[in-house]
């Protein structure tokens, strides 16, 4: 059994300190999560000949995340999350780990100023500090248990980044000029000084920021946001350090009428990224960019209709590390956790969408000052979220919830183009249409508890005119359908089918260590990934459920050099919210 003494010592110290400083008898309470997961993978009948790899594998684990909350006083709390994890097949302590997963101290000073120290989850605007969803997550009908695991294991809650540091916030009320002012400030350390394999020490990387949001009137709100990702050169032996301050102003107006509520939001800001070199004869590398977005949202008073339209402009040089860092970094060496090689030639199996939907270890939690690589097969329109640089254009959505809320239909449309061409003066044009329909039919097919039908589809188009070297045409369509039939109040049977298809050509940007674009890699995409799944779920409440599923999945590539593959998985999960 592996016990991390440092973590336990730290928890013990914090608890002891809290108890010592308490003026009253402390309150201790617990919550947490327990999960058992088992997966058995097997080669499908359609897989190419492979007598080298194992035909099937199985793996799983049991874990308990116990959150210990100690309130030494009514305005202070220490929270430690202790994880006990046991791999299936590990007996007598083998394969068992005990870990401190989170440690936070939070409280209020004089009932006015809130603070927290330790692990925290931070978010500002979509252009300053924001954890955008990954490309593979948009379509995951039938994969909610996996989605829960990935988000939980990577701390992806509510588009926040998990950071460690100090944060405080407070709000003020005024009698004149403005109604309230809320202030929030934090300083965190996304990366400590690290010894690399080459024997050099990477510097401490810090992220600091502050927000001030003022309610001017009931209709008008003004917010100012600032974040800065920077490195402390003295804490390492590297001869370069980065600074990336981003400023953003947000003006928000809302107005309620008899039939409609209108909200209009304007974001505008600037960024600056500088690589500061220690050598005096080497000039710093600086790039500055700006952005703005106007979004007008409208909702009917009966909530039946909801629509918005907006315009966004993000300069090519806009860099915001805390908003543009991706959950999936395709420039890193990501490998499938099951059947990493296949065929008798032991080819490296490329990641399929199924791998991305089920494997939490593929995801990134570290903020990076450079733009990470993305995969145009999955998404090419806004790979870095709404803060994707070099984009301008309109977007909008329409949502309808009718038939006594039994039907919910949404359509999102985006038409963007590049601000400046890449490798040519001709600019790419992007289009995206996303449609989502959910129908909760109470009496369909005489099923007692009704049927839920969900259809979700997303189509993307990337085009560029020009000569034969410049011309681009990349199309992708992703569709997913799920049918859920309620057999009782708790027991549900579900069937789902998903498909991801893309074809065309694209040029990937190759950038140096400082983000300068110096080369392009021409890629041809012509493949499709698919998943069929069926299973049963028993749900006690939203976070406590058991699910057993059988999944058939695979990928087909039109290129003959890349053999198709096909696998199956039996999956069981029991999640208990304590």
């Amino acid at each position: 059994m592996m016990i991390r003494p440092k973590g336990l010592l730290l928890v013990s110290f914090c608890l002891w300190m809290s108890l010592c400083t308490a003026q009253e008898r402390p309150t201790v309470w617990f919550d947490g999560l327990s999960r058992s997961l088992f997966a058995r993978d097997a080669m499908g009948a359609g897989s190419p000949a492979d007598s080298v790899s194992e035909r099937s594998t199985s793996a799983g684990y049991n874990l308990l995340d116990l959150n210990v909350h100690v309130n030494p006083t009514s305005d202070m709390e220490v929270m430690a999350q202790l994880r006990v994890r046991n791999e299936l097949g590990g007996f007598f302590g083998t394969g068992t780990t005990v870990d401190v997963r989170q440690l936070t101290l939070r409280g209020t000073i004089d009932d006015k100023i809130r603070y927290q120290v330790g692990d925290m989850f931070l978010r500002q605007t979509r252009f300053t500090l924001f954890n955008s969803a990954s490309d593979a997550e948009a379509l995951s009908a039938g994969f909610q248990p996996y989605r829960d695991v990935i988000d939980y294991e990577n701390f992806y809650g509510d588009n926040r980044w998990r950071l460690q540091g100090l944060q405080t916030d407070f709000s003020l009320q005024f009698a004149r000029f403005i109604r309230t002012l809320a202030v929030d400030a934090f300083i965190t350390r996304p990366r400590g000084s690290v010894l690399t394999s080459s024997g050099t020490y990477l510097s401490d990387r810090l992220l600091g920021g502050a927000s001030a949001v003022a309610d001017i009137t009931k209709q008008w709100q003004l917010g100012l946001h600032h974040v800065n990702l920077f490195e402390v050169p003295n804490s390492g032996t590297m001869d370069v350090a980065v600074r990336n301050p981003v400023h953003c102003a947000v003006v928000h107006h809302q107005q309620s009428g008899e039939r409609w509520t209108h909200e209009t939001t304007l974001h505008a800001g600037t960024s600056n990224r500088t690589w500061v070199f220690a050598a005096e004869d080497q000039n710093d590398l600086t790039s500055s960019g700006a952005f703005w977005e106007l979004d007008s949202q409208h909702e009917s008073r009966d909530s039946l209709w909801n629509w918005n339209v907006g315009y966004r402009y993000v300069e090519p040089e806009f860099r915001s590390a805390a908003a543009q860092t991706r959950r999936l970094d395709w420039s890193s060496a990501m490998q499938p956790s099951t059947f990493a090689t296949y065929t008798n030639d032991q080819l490296a199996r490329r990641l399929s969408v199924f791998d991305l939907l089920v494997d939490p270890l593929l995801y990134n939690q570290a903020l990076a000052p450079q733009l990470m690589q993305f995969n145009p097969f999955l998404s090419n329109v806004s790979p870095y979220g709404d803060g994707t640089p070099n984009r301008m254009g309109v977007f909008g959505s329409l949502e309808w919830g009718g038939m006594k809320k039994a039907v919910n239909a949404a359509l999102n449309l985006t038409a963007l183009s590049e601000v400046i061409g890449q490798g040519t003066e001709n600019r790419r044009r992007f289009g995206r249409a996303e449609c989502r329909i959910h129908w909760a039919a109470p009496n369909l097919l005489n099923i007692e508890k009704g049927v839920d039908l969900t259809f979700h589809s997303k189509a993307e188009l990337t085009r560029r005119d020009g000569n034969e070297l410049e011309e681009l045409d990349l199309r992708s369509i992703q569709s997913s359908m799920e049918l859920k039939a309620g057999l009782s109040d708790e027991l549900t049977m579900h069937v789902s089918a998903s498909n991801w298809t893309a074809s065309g050509e694209e040029f990937l940007s190759i950038r140096d260590a400082y983000g300068n674009l110096f080369n392009f890699e021409a890629v041809q995409v012509d493949r499709s990934d698919w998943i069929f799944a069926s299973g049963l779920s028993y749900k006690w409440n939203k976070h406590t459920y058991a699910s057993i599923q059988y999944q058939w999945w695979g990928a087909n590539d039109r290129e003959e050099a890349i053999p198709d593959f096909q696998y199956q998985r039996l999956f069981f999960i029991l999640a208990i919210d304590l």
Partner: protein, 346 residues
């Protein structure tokens, strides 16, 4: 009310739109150049085709293309089989960008021999060829501690157990480089230690950090039979300023004893056949004895110990198979380099 809101918004949008225009030009290199027709503007040329690296001559390679390409330049020794490779992404090899001083990218080292030169532009299916003849071997940059060509380094001490087939002597039958090397091996059943060589050094001119200071050492094994189980080299570096060998009753130098500032790195196991070249930054050495500031400082190094060790076959019966095997961890060409290891040099 609505007009009061819409008009300012439109005004703001109009102002922002002025700053939201399409930009002229393009980002990155031209696609038409990158993926257009490839042309060689200036073919591959060598500054000399008969370099004498021993007098610090170097070969400068140059070529010019009509566009940036991924290129790889390889020099292959036609007799030794040694090779040296350079690669890059650029439109030209010029201005001293690719200079070769006679080093190799891996073992073996180059000899006095003819070499084939190939410049490959893989994406274009183009290979440019040339040849050269090495007339003098490379002077590797660094602090050469021992090459065993003219005997043991000055002041070196050798100690060994009284085992069977013990070597611990100079030899010239199979050197890695030059004419001699130092054999370290034999058979000792009762102890892990077979023997060692202690070398006094003066690195006071070294100013780089420990992470940029590399130990480079050739190690030979497997030529006298199957390598002994768990045979290895224990390299100790002393930063002690005590006298090197004041107490001659000790086995070897005094500066490696307890109380002296000593760092250690194990080359373990030595289980290969033939020569291998080991490179390791000084920063990777662990503390063996605390006796100073515990900060690895290359300029403070005063002595190096290379100890031959192996799993004994008698003492604890841990490795009984070693009763039939001779330990062999011969060494040659101990050199310290700055900023990069030996194979990283141009």
């Amino acid at each position: 009310m609505r007009n009061r809101f819409i008009l300012p918004c439109l005004a703001v949008c109009a102002i922002l739109a002025l700053f939201g225009c399409v930009k002229d030009g393009y980002e990155g290199p031209s696609l038409n150049e990158l993926f257009g027709e490839f042309e060689i503007i200036d073919s591959l040329t060598l500054s000399t085709t008969s370099p004498d690296f021993s007098i610090d001559e170097a070969v400068e390679f140059s070529a010019t293309f009509n566009k940036p390409v991924n290129w790889q330049l390889e020099i292959q020794g036609l007799s030794s089989g040694s090779s040296k490779a350079f690669s890059g992404f650029s439109q030209a090899l010029d201005n001293g960008a690719v200079v070769w001083t006679g080093t190799s990218s891996s073992l073996p080292f180059f000899e006095l021999e003819d070499c084939a030169v190939a410049l490959s532009i893989a994406n274009e299916g183009v290979v440019l060829h040339d040849t050269l003849t090495i007339t003098g071997l490379a002077n590797f940059e660094g602090i050469r501690v021992a090459d065993f060509d003219a005997g043991l380094p000055e002041g070196a001490l050798v100690w060994r157990q009284d085992g069977g087939n013990m070597t611990f002597q100079l030899a010239d039958d199979n050197p890695l480089l030059g004419t001699g090397y130092f054999k370290m091996g034999g058979k000792v059943g009762w102890d892990w230690s077979l023997g060692y060589i202690d070398i006094p050094v003066d690195f006071s001119d070294a100013t780089v950090a420990a992470s940029e200071f590399y130990l480079n050492l050739g190690v030979l094994s497997g030529t006298v039979g199957i390598p002994a189980t768990d045979q290895f080299l224990n390299v100790s570096i002393s930063e002690s300023d005590a006298p090197f060998d004041d107490n001659q009753a000790n086995n070897g130098a005094d500066v490696f004893g307890a109380g002296n500032e000593v760092y250690r790195h194990q080359i373990r196991p030595v289980d290969w056949n033939g020569w291998e070249f080991i490179t390791v930054p000084y920063a990777d050495f662990e503390v063996k004895h605390e006796g100073g500031d515990n900060i690895r400082t290359p300029g403070d190094i005063t002595a190096i110990r290379i100890a031959c060790q192996a799993c004994p076959f008698n003492a604890s019966a841990a490795c009984p198979e070693n009763a039939d095997r001779d330990v062999q961890t011969d060494v040659d060409f101990l050199i310290f380099t700055e900023y990069s290891d030996l194979f990283g040099q141009e």
